[in-house]
């Protein structure tokens, strides 16, 4: 185990220049998640139109892992149908629970495969998941709000 396996260049790049950062309008749901063990926080907004995630914007405080992971997540979900994006979320969650043993599918996870090293560090897994959990929560709220106003739509 070596700290370089955690801090892949891809991760440090996203950390230095995060994608989709900042809070934008319009949005359908906003959530605030914190990681009480370390104090990382994120405020995250989701816009869902016709079952597609059309924007994710966020403001966050935290370590390189949580910042980079949130940035990578936005690349993977923005512009994708909710159902597809949720599958990617599940894939990432599985990767994080793999203790470094899994061979992630680069076609699905793209830059997120760089996080395989993080899964060896139990205390940091929550950092890597913070943005993803916030996104899932916000998206569920957005979809629920949409389906209650337009009862034919449903979350996959």
């Amino acid at each position: 185990m070596n700290v370089e396996t955690m801090y892949q260049e891809i991760i440090l790049d996203h950390y230095r220049s995060p994608h989709h950062k900042g809070l934008r309008e319009p949005f359908d749901a906003e959530v605030h998640h914190v990681n009480p063990t370390c104090g990382d926080e994120v405020t995250l907004r989701v816009r869902v139109e016709d079952g597609v995630v059309t924007d994710v914007s966020y403001d966050s405080l935290g370590c390189s892992i949580s910042q980079a992971s949130t940035s990578v997540m936005t690349d993977l979900v923005v512009g994708r149908p909710v159902a597809d994006a949720l599958r990617t979320h599940d894939e990432f969650l599985q990767l994080m629970q793999s203790r470094g043993e899994s061979e992630p599918d680069e076609d699905v996870l793209e830059d997120a495969v760089a996080f395989v090293g993080v899964s060896r560090y139990p205390a940091r897994i929550k950092c890597a998941l913070l943005g993803w959990m916030a996104w899932k929560d916000a998206t569920a709220q957005a979809v629920a709000a949409a389906s209650s106003s337009a009862p034919t739509e449903e979350m996959a």
Binding site: V34, P36, T37, C38, P122, A123, R124
Partner: protein
Amino acid sequence: MTTPLAVALDVERIRKDFPILDRVVHGDKPLVYLDNAATSHKPTQVLDAVHDYYTVHNANVHRGIHVLAEEATALYEGARDKVATFINAADRGEVVFTKNATESINLAANVIAWAAPPLGLSPGDEVVITEMEHHSNIVPWQLVCERTGATLRWFGITDDGRLDLSDIDRVITERTKVVSFVLVSNILGTVNPAAEIVRRAREVGALVVIDASQAAPHLPLDVQALGADLVAFTGHKMCGPTGIGVLWGRKQLLEELPPFLGGGEMIELVTMQRSTYAALPHKFEAGTPPVAQAVGLGAAVDYLSGLGMERVAEHEHAITAYALDRLQAVDGLRVIGPTTPDARGAAISFVLGDLHPHDVGQVLDELGIAVRVGHHCARPVCERFGVPATTRASFHLYSTLGEVDALVAGLDQVRRFFR
């Protein structure tokens, strides 16, 4: 006199795991330890786990990212997994570590009392316990009833040491908010009919709290099968260290209940104005937990599971049957509690003629035989049976028939001494 027994546990091998059992007292008397209901001894496996924790991994848990902190956290949370499996909890978050069973029950009583309606206690509400409870399952309810204006009621005890449930439908009523009872009595040895009480409590929508302090060490405990809402027990009676107890609770209920102690570990976000609380089980674990003690308890449940709780129960049942037989043949001895081994744990209380238990215990001690004398933290039971106190012999997985024989011989000497 010896009854033929199929003792499946290899007790001689087990005894080698407990260094204290080799002790001699009062000069040259080998220790005959029959005070297991008060506390059990600890096998080397448990002591080694604690020692290893302190000398290799020691750190504060949850809040660190350095190696020691990660190892300590993994060991502490690993102990929770072991306990969850041991009691067949549906979810590891349902296992809350406390300092002892007494704290577990106080926690339960206070958070139920403080909870928002429809939970919560108010004047007119009733809490039902039994006359057979340990003080630790009486006083917490007296205190919360006093503070909330709720009323305390209880089941009595029959002459043969069983709960008197004949008027169950009049004791547990629509006004009952909580029913709390002991699964195995530490003074009478009685194993109570949980299913019947739970069924009636469910009918009226009352919460059920079970004090399993004398059950967890001695029989297979399955919290899902029990059907209660909250179950308390204590580490030091089940081969674990002092300073650790458990409160198991149904997840949904624990989520609804307010926190008990406030502080580090149990919070999500703290501002000076207000705070939000962590997810289960941490919401109920304020401050640095008893980390080494949890690790020790984890090792204890590994030890017990390795032997098999069915086999432990069978062994103790056999010893108890033998002891009931032999003790009741002692002149002037009266067992307080069930006199047959059915639905009965391994604690036997008795009085010997009009000798005071203190005097009985003192002379037995002189012979190396450790029994407990007094109220056993269950004074209402002594009152119920009109005795000032009892002498109690209680067995565990390492107890032998020979120790029962030593006790019986010791009682003869007691009688001769005070003749």
